[in-house]
């Protein structure tokens, strides 16, 4: 029977199962196949903090959502068109997010009485009519996988574990995905165990063939490649892009990179990734605690490395005292905060933007630092370079605020030419700078950057002492002089405020919007998608997005005053809104969500529609 092929412009698929079911890997492979085909993509993994929560329970559900389209897209999608549910828990945890009519593919083998009871299903939802509004596809995924692998030399357990590949094969068939990259991936992943390569490939093909032969799946879909700029692409997560950006900063500055880190979700992957790139002169140290991690990074900066520390909110809290020391020492230091939901341990695998106040203000004394935030997974690469540029040029700590949403989400990335990346070379001090030609003044500033000389140990004639005690202007000697302290405090503030950052750009295609949406960091995607949707419906709206939170772009005040209304959506209780109101006396309207999940475009769209229409 020839299957019907239907064209779609976009699809959102969510793979959901037990944390041990391999859903992250399945989603990742599907994404890679989709990237190969040339669709635009955005992904959102969502997994529990527990490594292996009890099997079959709601807290153990792990999911991966992928949105792909024939046009450029900005978010992983609000509501899935397709749910793959590997067990009753996965169905129960996710069905509420589905619009009526969505496809649900379930693994019927897991819908046993015991598993149903475990998640509180009194009756089997596959049979009680509660899913009548959806297009339900019951598939005996486990049994068919085991059956397909009957002739393979693998244990029953290994055969059963290949069921995610069966599901991937089925979905790959449904959406006409090219699967060469998956076969190559399996060959790499199980290189040491050829029998598993064969079994997983067989399971994948069984799933594909099942789609092709079964009557339950009468339609096959295609999503044509998106029109994207020419060039070479790869799909990349924020944490990967950030790591590559830090390596690139080392290459472009010509400095050794030193990362001090203590494992913490969701930042640990940056430590893992950077530890693989020693050949670039990258040293990674897993320190005994967060404080040691930043201390070692600062020590390395003092010695002439690009010192970096990576962490999440709880770690930044612990590093505060050392950041203040770096402010006093005026040395380059990059602090990466991959934000997660707080306070305290909070929701370690969920996203939030609630560390902005801490980044801007969370230190003792007047201790200003530069703060930057990436807007998307691939933008993490450029944000890392920008953080390094500011740190090296202006000899200051820079906090980079990523978050779990951009860190673990992925999107296609148009790979940049290495030569096009910023030149980050710095000059160490080599000669005395005093008027007598013999003295070295460690706190004599560059008239343009206000940066003090970076005189690294090993440089003859420039021996000097620095420390946390207040320093006299120019000489850096200990000074308790009141006027000097006042001068130094103001100077440290002025040198951060004086860092030139690009003007903020406003996206308002027709130029007639009276409402501006201002965002920062990872909300760029959902805000952008909501604005596009409003404009398509004829409602004018302007969007501006901050990459630099400290200092802020020089034109920001002017831009804000050009609109009747300014709306600031944030995944916190209004931290940027507070700053904007205080600083620019603009009556900004905060819109806040702190659920641990990113905004959906639909939610922002309806909120903004209200503002645009009713003021």
């Amino acid at each position: 029977m020839a299957k019907q092929v239907r064209q779609l412009d976009r699809v959102v698929i969510r793979f959901a199962g037990d944390s041990g079911d391999g859903m992250q890997l399945t989603g990742d492979r599907f994404t890679s196949e989709t990237a190969q085909l040339g669709n635009d993509i955005s992904t959102l993994p969502n997994f529990p903090a527990e490594i292996r929560a009890p099997a079959g329970t709601l807290p153990g559900v792990s999911s991966f959502q992928v949105h792909f389209a024939d046009t450029d897209i900005l978010t992983p999608g609000d509501a899935p068109n397709v749910l793959v549910a590997m067990n009753p828990a996965a169905l129960k945890a996710n069905v509420g997010d589905l619009p009526r009519g969505a496809d649900i593919i379930v693994n019927t083998d897991e819908f046993t009485k015991r598993n149903l009871t475990k998640v509180g299903y009194a009756a089997n939802p596959l049979e009680d009519g509660s899913l009548d509004g959806y297009s339900l596809h019951p598939v005996a995924l486990t049994a068919m996988t085991i059956g397909a692998l009957a002739d393979h030399d693998v244990s029953k357990k290994d055969a059963e574990r290949a069921k995610n590949m069966f599901a991937l094969g089925l979905l790959s068939w449904m959406y006409s995905r090219p699967y060469d990259s998956t076969l190559r991936f399996l060959e790499r992943k199980f290189a040491a165990r050829p029998e598993l390569v064969a079994a997983n490939i067989a399971a994948f093909k069984a799933g594909w063939n099942f789609g092709e032969t079964t009557e339950d799946f009468g339609v096959r879909y295609e999503v044509k490649p998106a029109k994207m700029s020419p060039g070479t692409y790869r799909n990349i997560t924020g944490n990967q892009a950030l790591s590559l950006g830090l390596v690139a900063a080392g290459v472009r500055s010509g400095l050794p990179v030193f990362l001090g880190a203590y494992p913490i979700t969701p930042a640990s992957d940056i430590l893992h990734e950077l530890s693989k790139h020693k050949r670039f002169g990258v040293t990674t140290m897993q320190a005994e605690d967060e404080i040691a991690a930043i201390g070692a990074a600062l020590g390395a900066s003092y010695g002439g490395s690009l010192g970096i520390t990576t962490t999440s909110g709880p770690g930044v809290a612990l590093k505060g005292e050392t950041i203040s020391l770096a402010v006093a020492l005026e040395l380059p230091l990059v602090i990466i905060d991959v934000q997660r939901a707080g306070p305290s341990t909070g929701l370690p695998t969920k996203t939030e933007q609630a560390d902005l106040n801490m980044a801007l203000f969370g230190r003792h004394g007047e201790a200003p630092v530069a703060v930057v935030a990436p807007r998307s997974p691939s933008d993490c690469f450029f944000a890392a370079l920008e953080a390094a540029r500011i740190a090296l040029t202006y000899r200051t700590p820079v906090i980079l605020l990523s978050d779990n949403y951009v860190a673990n989400g992925s999107e296609p990335w148009l790979l940049p030419e290495v030569d096009s990346l910023p030149d980050l070379r710095v000059e160490f001090a080599t000669e005395p700078n005093g008027e007598d030609g013999k003295t070295f003044l460690p706190y004599l500033r560059d008239p343009v950057t206000m940066a003090r000389p970076w005189a690294i140990p090993g440089t003859p004639g420039l021996e000097h002492r620095i420390g946390g005690l207040e320093k006299a202007d120019k000489t850096g000697d200990i000074s308790y002089d009141p006027a000097n302290h006042d001068f130094m405090v103001r100077t440290r503030a002025a040198r951060i405020e004086g860092i030139p950052v690009p003007d903020i750009e406003v996206e308002d295609p027709d130029g007639d919007a009276r409402t501006l949406v201002l965002g920062w960091g990872s909300t760029y995607g959902p805000i952008g998608a909501a604005c596009r949707a409003l404009r398509q419906r004829g409602l004018p709206i302007a969007q501006a997005h901050l990459r630099h939170l400290s200092p802020m772009p020089a034109n920001l005040g002017e831009v804000l005053k050009g609109y009747d209304r300014v709306v600031i959506p944030e995944m916190n209780l209004g931290q940027l809104a507070h700053v904007i109101r205080a600083r620019f006396l603009v009556d900004a309207i905060p819109y806040n969500q702190v659920s641990g999940l990113p905004f959906t475009a639909a939610k922002l769209e309806s909120m903004l529609e209200e503002v645009v229409k009713n003021g």
Binding site: I291, A292, L298, E321, G458, E463, R465
Partner: protein
């Protein structure tokens, strides 16, 4: 490790232009003078010497040394110095710390620097009191100590800094006295020559808040009875005429002090700092009583183990040696790793 070169330096070269501001009579002056006069013999240029300190009276030390120096944060000097040392193996990095700085707020960093065997020379000035904050008890103060914060006596048991360092398997552990310049310098010399972490406890008198804490070890009338001067390869005897000695009683875990006359000379422990098992040096560290009787000074332990710095640097150097092409080419290769696709 920082390599010596032909350089002629004197004590004066190591004095900075800063006015020294410890209390008159503080033991820190003696240590500073001893260090400044000892540094020239290392033949390491001043610019390759770095002193890193935390917070406390002792931590002002770097300001007075005409080398590179950093006065950092309370307790964090070992962590900061670790980053510096690992990233700059050409430097000679010294940490100056105190009993509060190293053993209370910074205890974690100290033990981890020691277990990693970072190439740091750590000088712990132990005066058994908080001086800079004006007289609270410290983690080495004796139990029952009456101070501003413990008006009826401290309920804390003190740390034995050497036992702690040995528990962390430090590869070099020694103790010396602020007032004995010759001994102090001999210990500094051994520490400087050691590859890896060298931990040196220096008993230091705080004449303002804990005066005379180590007086019995210094007073000519008592010191011979109280001090055990360890010398590698020599039987451990002490007292004015060597009338006391250290033995390892059969069946016991530790070492004990006996009258030399009462034991078979063959049973007297011959000091060997190179014993790989830290238990021996640990037993030595347990000899002193609360009254400081039987306090060994000198090098307790000096064993060879690759430094953390060497191991980390060699991993990076090995990877760099295997890489081909310019860093830019390598970066371009790294960016295109994995599944890529091209749009024309």
């Amino acid at each position: 490790m920082a390599e010596p070169v032909a350089v002629k330096l004197t004590q004066k070269d190591f004095k900075s232009d800063q006015e020294v501001r410890w209390c008159p009579g503080c033991g820190d002056y003696a240590i500073l003078a001893a260090v400044q006069s000892f540094m020239p013999e290392l033949k390491i240029p001043r610019e390759r010497t770095v002193f890193v300190s935390g917070i406390g009276c002792s931590s002002r030390f770097p300001y007075y040394m005409n080398t590179y120096g950093m006065h950092s944060i309370h307790g964090r000097a070992p962590a900061i110095a670790t980053g510096l040392s690992v990233s700059r193996p050409d430097l000679s990095v010294w940490v100056v710390t105190g009993d509060g700085d190293a053993l209370s707020i910074g205890g974690n960093h100290l033990i981890h620097a020691l277990r990693r065997n970072v190439n740091l020379k750590i000088l712990l000035f132990n005066n058994r009191i908080y001086g800079l904050t004006k007289g609270q008890y410290s983690p080495t103060s004796e139990i029952g100590k009456i101070t501003k914060s413990t008006p009826v006596g401290s309920a804390d048991s003190p740390f034995n800094p050497l036992s702690l360092a040995l528990g962390a398997e430090a590869t070099f552990v020694a103790r010396t006295l602020d007032s004995d310049r010759k001994h102090l310098q001999s210990v500094l010399r051994a520490a400087a020559e050691h590859n890896g972490s060298a931990f040196v406890e220096i008993y230091q008198n705080c004449n303002i808040f804990n005066d005379g804490a180590f007086e019995t070890l210094k007073d000519p009338a008592t010191r011979d009875e109280y001090l055990i001067r360890l010398e590698h390869g020599q039987p451990i005897t002490f007292g004015a005429d060597g009338q006391r000695c250290v033995v390892h009683p059969p069946g016991g875990f530790g070492l004990e002090v006996r009258d030399t006359a009462s034991v078979d000379p063959a049973d007297i422990v011959v000091h060997d700092a190179t014993v790989s098992e830290p238990a021996y040096a640990f037993a030595l560290s347990r000899l002193p009583g609360l009254d400081l009787r039987n306090t060994p000074i000198g090098v307790f332990r000096k064993v060879d183990r690759p430094s953390y710095d060497e191991l980390v640097v060699s991993q990076v150097e090995t990877a760099k040696a295997k890489a081909t092409g310019t860093p830019e080419d390598q970066l371009a290769g790294l960016l295109t790793t994995g599944d890529t696709w091209t749009i024309l």
